[in-house]
């Protein structure tokens, strides 16, 4: 298998506003390259187009100008190759946990060949007991785990995480950060995560991208050179934290 590479070449995205005769420039000239095995986090104040960036890569929306390429192939439309996990678990409430996880295989008509994978992933996140439960019977953390494996079952080349842990309590959140890291290490797929939590970004990623708002653009890319598993209290960790938080504050003052 060749190494995957995701390239955003001068990507901009503008939206026509519905409430006024104007357009919003959500993203302006984004250049970004992410290689296989990289875990990139995107942080920045709200309104800086973080989510838009992910939706563009997912193919849910199209760039106004510029191009997104995955392995030299232009990204057009959604594809299970570029999996996305949303802040809300978005589990289909009319399907059981098992059916939700199998959904993607079923729509791609691959279910019969990979049935066992469904059960393997469910036990991996420790939800064997809840296989036949419906989503409303799960806690927030459990639902998000199901949502995660529902995407991972496709072994996507790119995994897009849109604040996947944003709605969870602090303890569940820290546990799931490790689970996410394990999954990433196992498949070593390109991972781009949007988060509000600078701590989480430093704890998990190789690279943190700091964005600035109106129009959304990349302010800075910071490589995190720390060994996994990372110690949240180490001096280096704290100094990365200071650096990134400083940048974000600085951004606020300027805007």
């Amino acid at each position: 298998m060749t190494e995957s590479i995701l390239v955003l070449d001068n990507v901009s995205k503008s939206f026509a506003r519905t409430d006024a005769d104007a357009i919003t420039h959500a993203l302006d000239s984004i250049n970004l390259t992410v290689r296989q095995g990289e875990f990139v986090s995107v942080v920045g104040p709200s309104g800086c187009g973080k989510s838009t960036l992910l939706r563009l890569i997912a193919g849910l929306i199209y760039p106004t100008t510029g191009e997104i390429k995955l392995d030299k192939e232009k990204v057009e439309g959604a594809n299970p190759d570029r999996g996305m996990v949303f802040q809300k678990p978005t589990l289909f409430p009319w399907l059981t946990v098992r059916e939700n996880v199998a959904y993607s295989l079923k729509v791609q008509k691959k279910y019969n060949d990979e049935k066992d994978e469904v059960d393997r992933l469910i036990s991996k996140v420790g939800l064997d007991e809840f296989k036949d439960s419906y989503p409303h019977q799960l806690s927030g953390g459990m639902a998000q785990r199901v949502s995660l494996i529902r995407t991972m079952i496709n072994k996507p080349r790119v995994c897009l995480l849109d604040e996947p842990l944003g709605a969870l309590d602090a303890f569940t959140r820290m546990n799931m950060q490790d689970e996410l890291l394990n999954m990433w290490r196992e498949n070593s797929q390109i991972t781009v995560m949007v988060t509000h939590d600078v701590d989480e970004a430093i704890y998990m990623s190789n690279r943190v991208i700091v964005m600035a708002p109106r129009p959304g653009r990349i302010r800075e890319c910071i490589d995190i050179n720390l060994e996994y598993p990372r110690n949240r209290l180490s001096d280096n960790f704290v100094s990365y934290r200071r650096e990134i938080l400083g940048m974000l504050d600085f951004g606020k003052k300027e805007a």
Partner: protein, 337 residues
């Protein structure tokens, strides 16, 4: 007690306040109440003298007797089974009240003649009328049901197709929805006089009327359901590889299911109304027609018999619909415990 083998029943009992001896006694008296009320009903029927020339048969007595024995059986079983006990304890006061109502009605009609024939036949007379005419009645019931279901299912299927098409395609919605908005609020029975004239057969006309009402409510419900699907579900499904066909059949329709079933239930009640009106105005068979026909002969007992039969049929139909609904929507919060 071992926590692992604790059943829901036992847990609920543990959490309830403990019952005193008096409470338990009251419970059993209440459970026995329907039997007592039924016996009272029978005594009134057999022991009081009839008013003037009024006559009575054993049909009513046997009927009440059967119901009493059912309650007696339930009472005996309730000592063994907690579920039967809980059900009986909950329902017993109401059924006792029904027995009292029957007794009062019997007293006012058969025994004292306060409510006079032919408008107020006593229950025994209605039962006898139903029995003597049962062949004809069941034939009418069969015709009504054929008409009801032909109309209902054609309306429901067309409604689903229209609703899904409108929810799926803006273009179709553009052309279809104004007509729905214009024609929808008119009760479908309004069209009966016209349809009866235009349509080749009265049966087809009635099917059309019934189907129209069902079609309307199912279409509206389906459109509402599909247009309220949260965009997040579509996004998630797309990134999981769903095609636009799969988005409709795998996401939009299941999501809209509660609305669709709501529309189907509403459609059923409109279908029942249309059925009765159509039968009374034109179709020459069915229970609605039977009622009208017997009324013109002043055979009110037979008329009441047919009304009771209609009641029973509609109860069964709606019960079946509710069971289907519960089964399909088992994923909804509050349906599965």
């Amino acid at each position: 007690m071992e926590l692992q083998i604790l059943t829901k029943q036992e847990l609920m009992e543990m959490e309830r306040a403990p019952k005193t001896k008096a409470d338990i006694l009251v419970d059993y008296v209440v459970c026995f109440l329907p039997v007592l009320a039924g016996a009272f009903c029978l005594l009134e029927y057999y022991l009081l003298p009839n008013y003037e020339i009024n006559t009575n048969t054993n049909v009513y007595g046997v009927f009440i007797g059967i119901i009493i024995s059912l309650f007696l059986a339930a009472f005996i079983v309730s000592f063994k089974s907690k579920t039967v006990f809980n059900k009986l304890r909950y329902k017993a006061p109401f059924y006792s009240f029904v027995f009292i109502l029957l007794t009062v009605y019997d007293f006012l009609t058969l025994k004292t003649g306060t409510l006079m024939l032919p408008y107020f036949p006593w229950a025994d007379r209605v039962l006898n009328a139903m029995i003597s005419d049962w062949r004809y009645l069941s034939d009418c019931a069969k015709n009504s049901l054929i008409l009801l279901f032909t109309g209902y299912f054609s309306g429901a299927i067309l409604g689903l197709i229209t609703g899904i098409a409108c929810g799926y395609s803006k273009k179709i919605n553009y052309w279809v929805s104004p007509f729905i908005k214009l024609l929808g609020p008119i009760p479908s029975t309004t069209w009966i006089p016209i349809v009866m004239v235009i349509m080749a057969s009265l049966f087809k006309g009635a099917v059309f009327i019934i189907a129209l009402g069902v079609w309307f409510s199912v279409t509206i419900a389906t459109i509402t359901g599909i247009s309220s699907v949260e965009a997040d579900y579509f996004d998630a499904a797309k990134t999981l590889g769903a095609t636009s066909r799969q988005l409709i059949f795998g996401i939009a329709i299941p999501y809209a299911m509660p609305n669709i079933l709501q529309g189907l239930t509403q459609g059923m009640s409109s279908a029942c109304t249309s059925l009765m009106v159509a039968e009374m105005l034109g179709v020459e068979s069915g229970l609605g027609w039977y009622i009208n026909w017997q009324k013109s002969w002043a055979e009110f007992s037979k008329m009441y018999g047919a009304i009771i039969l209609i009641c029973l049929i509609f109860i069964v139909v709606n019960k079946v619909l509710a069971i289907v609904k519960k089964h399909i929507l088992k994923w909804q919060e509050g349906v599965v415990q």
